[in-house]
């Protein structure tokens, strides 16, 4: 008889409670090693869990929408040699799940005692059976095992929490007398305490019935629905997965962060000449040196000088968490939508190394092959539209980061040098920041410092 293996979620990076979005196999399917079994979705990436061995799928332990973490059971696999399974049932696709596939031992325990005792007493003596139940079975619960006894929440709210897999015992309520409201559940799913993804939050919003108004937070009125077909032909195309995920994240940042955008411009005439030199050499080696690598180095220098820009507010919003690392998010436009891979330890890398890494990560982003690890941990973000055009824009801070640097296309402009107008290559920059953390003067200093560095690239090495 074949060996039975339980396949669980491997260590795919620092994540927890990510939803299963696709299941590629069904009980009875024969799979080879490395065949994708299920697809998980974390932050803005998806990842497949490959089969660890060849075999026959015996029983699924997850369903679409389940939240899993490292070690969560995915399915039960009969490893090969087991292909000679019991003959398929006549009318069934699904094999029996008895025996090894149901390893949960029934908990026939003492709880049945009172039932049996009182009922048998009744049988002999003429009493009504006292309240009692069968033996409890708890091991098969699919949601949080938490008992909601004593939690101050109405039945509807408890059901919503069950649907969303949220543990109400870990949530504090904002309603009268600490009652946990529907809005608390939605916030709990979205917030850091809930630890769930935007997808679940979106589900929460739609499940809440009150709709986007409740989902958006404090009573923001919803845009009324319109029947556009009254005005002309229309076509509905679903958003891509990335767009569906990034939308709520952007909305959350926009609503939570009081944004100010500070514009400045840097004279990059000399920097650009230097970059071209490097790029010519690099091209021969198969990569490109872009302005972005310099912006990253300059940003790290500015972050060191102004550490508030490399901080986050605590959840209680009464303190700042200063980060001693410099991981920069880089917004990348892909056919599926906007993704923000993270380049780690930018302070320890040179322009050429950064250029190579940017090339590689951008390629992976466009192919949709980023892993959750690629997308986590940024302390500051750069969004460059330089390849396209524009004169200025307002990037949205990627909360809980506190600032984001936007750049558009540089252009030759006449600059007064004190005696004459001279043509200089000017780069407009747009720095959006969280005004709770950074005030305008500090932002102006940061932007000036950044421009100053870009204007004389030699300072970058100081």
């Amino acid at each position: 008889m074949a060996a039975v293996t339980e396949v669980s979620v491997p260590d795919l990076g620092d994540f927890a409670d990510v939803p299963v979005i696709e299941i590629h196999v069904a009980p009875g399917d024969v799979v080879s090693q490395e065949d994708p079994l299920v697809t998980l979705e974390s932050d803005k990436a998806t990842m497949d869990i490959p089969s660890p061995a060849a075999g026959t799928v015996r029983e699924l332990r997850v369903k679409i929408g389940d939240l899993v973490s490292r070690g969560s059971p995915v399915l039960v696999l009969d490893t090969e040699g087991a292909a000679v399974e019991p003959p398929p049932l006549t009318d069934q696709q699904e094999p029996p799940t008895l025996d090894a596939a149901d390893p949960v031992a029934p908990e026939v325990d003492s709880a049945q005692g009172p039932a049996a005792r009182s009922a048998s007493m009744a049988a002999q003596d003429g009493a009504v059976a006292a309240p009692a139940g069968g033996p409890p079975v708890t091991a098969l619960e699919t949601g949080p095992p938490a008992d909601f006894d004593g939690v101050h929440a109405s039945p509807g709210v408890r059901r919503l929490a069950r649907e969303l897999g949220l543990d109400l015992t870990a949530l504090s309520g904002t309603g009268p007398k600490g009652r946990i409201t529907k809005e608390d559940v939605i916030a709990g799913v979205r917030g850091p305490a809930g630890g769930a993804t935007a997808a679940v939050a979106a589900a929460a919003a739609s499940a809440a019935g009150a709709g986007a108004a409740a989902a958006a937070g404090a009573g923001i009125p919803e845009v009324p629905a319109q029947d556009f077909s009254k005005f002309g032909p229309v076509e509905v195309r679903p958003l891509t997965r990335i767009q569906r995920l990034s939308g709520p994240a952007l909305h959350r940042s926009w609503l939570n962060v009081p944004h100010v955008t500070h514009d400045d411009e840097a004279d990059i005439t000399d920097l650009d000449a230097y970059r071209r030199e490097l790029d010519t050499t690099a091209k021969a080696e198969g990569y490109r040196v872009t302005l972005l690598a310099f912006l990253m180095k300059a940003s790290v220098s500015a972050l060191r000088e102004f550490p508030r820009f490399n901080s986050s507010l605590t959840p209680e919003k009464d303190a700042l968490i200063y980060k001693s690392y410099y991981h920069l998010g880089v917004a990348v436009d892909t056919p599926e939508g906007l993704v923000v891979p993270v380049i780690r330890d930018v302070d320890r890398k040179g322009v050429l190394e950064l250029s190579r890494e940017l090339g590689a990560v951008s390629a992976r982003a466009r192919e949709g092959k980023l892993t959750p690890a690629d997308l986590q941990g940024a302390s500051f973000t750069i969004s460059s539209l330089g390849g396209i055009g524009g004169t200025a824009f307002t990037p949205i801070v990627n909360a809980p980061e506190v600032a984001i640097l936007g750049v558009v296309r540089s252009k030759m402009a006449p600059v007064w040098d004190g005696s004459a107008f001279v043509p200089r290559l000017m780069l407009p920059i747009s720095l959006s920041y969280d005004h709770r953390v950074i005030d305008g003067a500090l932002a102006a200093r940061f932007a000036r410092h950044l421009c100053h560095l870009l204007e004389d690239v030699r300072r970058l090495v100081l």
Partner: protein, 472 residues
């Protein structure tokens, strides 16, 4: 019949079974519903809750007209036509079960009439009521196999004068002297009916109070009333023997106040119900059934076999239709992939006796046993204008509050329509309401529902309809 397949098989078409089947169908599942009876609805609709309520209504009409004669409206003694009464009761049942059949058709739920037993974790064999057998293959199953009346081992097996609740509802005759074994809800409801129809009633109960699950103070008004009405109520008494003789059933008692023997024309045995867990081949499916026939389930109503659920009487007390229906929805929703749980905090119980007795959440007995610090507000219906205008004054509304949080944790009510009043308390418990929440909710006056608010006011110390010494 050709073999069938189902995405969800439901075994048993009582309130739990049909609810599970309909909910699963509404969630897009292909459902097969198996039951051995000719009509849907199970014990509740066919031989339980519904026909008994029809007869209890008849009993109430008799009782009220009789009592009203003292207040100037006299009808004379009732003329009782048992055949017409039975036909009316059956008409009510037929209307409801027919409605269920229609609901099943509209949902395209396949119903199979026959006795189902599991033969494997994915197959059920059905011995068809019309002869022959068929097999239903299923992906998931919901066991809603219910319960049946417990019989007493020393009873003469086949004597037609010994009946259970089903037999009592058949209304074959009104015996001159009826012995009701078991002073619980079912026994006392049937005693209420037969008393008003003219039988002399004797009730025998093992424990020291009627309806032992409820608090004594809530049962006392009922106990007093039936103590006056019935021939005998023997508490702390057991039957030791029954001999069938042509003259009657000679019963031997063991109890302080009971005679050694007495003779009755009929005996109604209502000593509890036994789950049907052992009668369905559950072990062939790998489902664990305990010695008494209960099937253990999780809060998602799963048995130890992940794709087989169980609900209703077969999973434990209280054996009540409304509990089964809520469990049914959980099971059907989980089977359809939803993350539902049975999270209820209060399952109301109602005895439709006269007066009715109803309770929800914790009783005082339970709160004391659990060591919960509680306070209570009590409102006697003697101070309720509405109750007095019904010609009744013995009722009582008692609400229990958690001392730490002030929230409602339980409620007991006795009096006419108590069963309809208890829902407010159940909602209060589920919503986490406290005394002020109920007391400050404007209740219409004069009503019986007002008594719930007045009990809360009594706890709060804001009541003016009673004079209560100031609480220290």
């Amino acid at each position: 019949m050709e073999n069938q397949t189902a995405e969800v098989l439901v075994l048993g078409a009582g309130p739990g079974g049909y609810t599970a089947a309909f909910r699963a169908a509404d969630l897009g599942k292909r459902v097969v519903l198996v039951d051995s009876e000719p009509t849907l609805g199970g014990v509740c609709l066919n031989v339980g809750c519904i026909p008994s309520k029809a007869l209890l209504h008849a009993a109430k009409v008799i009782a009220e007209t009789k009592e009203m004669s003292e207040n100037g409206i006299a009808f004379g003694p009732p003329s009782i036509d048992l055949d017409r009464l039975r036909a009316w009761k059956e008409g009510v049942v037929g209307r409801l079960t027919g409605g269920l059949a229609g609901l099943a058709r509209q949902r395209k739920v396949t119903t199979i009439r026959g006795y189902g037993r599991f033969t494997s974790p994915h197959e059920l064999r059905v011995d068809l009521a019309d002869g022959g057998a068929t097999t239903v293959g299923f992906e998931q199953a919901i066991i809603a196999a219910g319960s049946q009346a417990v019989t007493l081992p020393f009873m003469p097996v086949s004597d037609p004068r010994i009946i259970d609740s089903t037999g009592a509802l058949e209304l074959a005759e009104v015996p001159r002297r009826l012995l009701v074994v078991g002073g619980g809800i079912i026994g006392l409801e049937m005693a209420t009916v037969y008393h008003e129809l003219g039988a002399k009633i004797t009730v025998v109960e093992l424990l020291d109070q009627l309806i032992p699950d409820a608090d004594r103070d809530v049962v006392t008004p009922l106990a007093k009333r039936v103590g006056r009405q019935y021939e005998n109520v023997y508490l702390k008494t057991t039957l030791t023997d029954v001999q069938a003789t042509p003259e009657g059933l000679v019963v031997s008692f063991d109890g302080a106040k009971a005679p050694a023997t007495d003779t009755f024309d009929r005996i109604l045995v209502a000593v509890g119900r036994r789950p049907n867990g052992k009668l369905i081949g559950a072990e062939q499916a790998g489902v664990t059934v305990d010695d008494f026939g209960f099937i253990g389930v999780s809060k998602q109503m799963r048995t130890n076999v992940a794709h087989i659920f169980a609900i209703g009487d077969v999973v434990g007390q209280p054996m009540l239709a409304h509990k089964a229906m809520h469990e049914a929805k959980v099971a059907a929703e989980v089977a359809a992939g939803k993350n539902s749980y049975f999270d209820a905090r209060a399952i109301p119980s109602v005895a439709y006796t006269d007066p009715e007795v109803a309770w929800a959440g914790a009783t005082e007995n339970e709160a004391r046993a659990a060591g919960v610090g509680y306070g209570k507000g009590v409102f006697p219906w003697a101070a309720s204008g509405r109750s007095l205008t019904l010609g009744r004054s013995e009722g009582l509304t008692k609400v229990l509050f958690d001392e730490a949080t002030g929230r409602v944790i339980g409620c007991g009510i006795v009096g006419p329509s108590a069963g309809d009043l208890i829902s407010e308390a159940a909602l209060a418990i589920e919503m986490g309401a406290d005394a002020a929440d109920i007391a400050l909710t404007v209740h219409p006056h004069p009503t019986l529902s007002e008594t719930v608010a007045l009990a809360a006011e009594a706890f709060e110390g804001t009541i003016t309809d009673l004079y209560l010494p100031r609480r220290s």
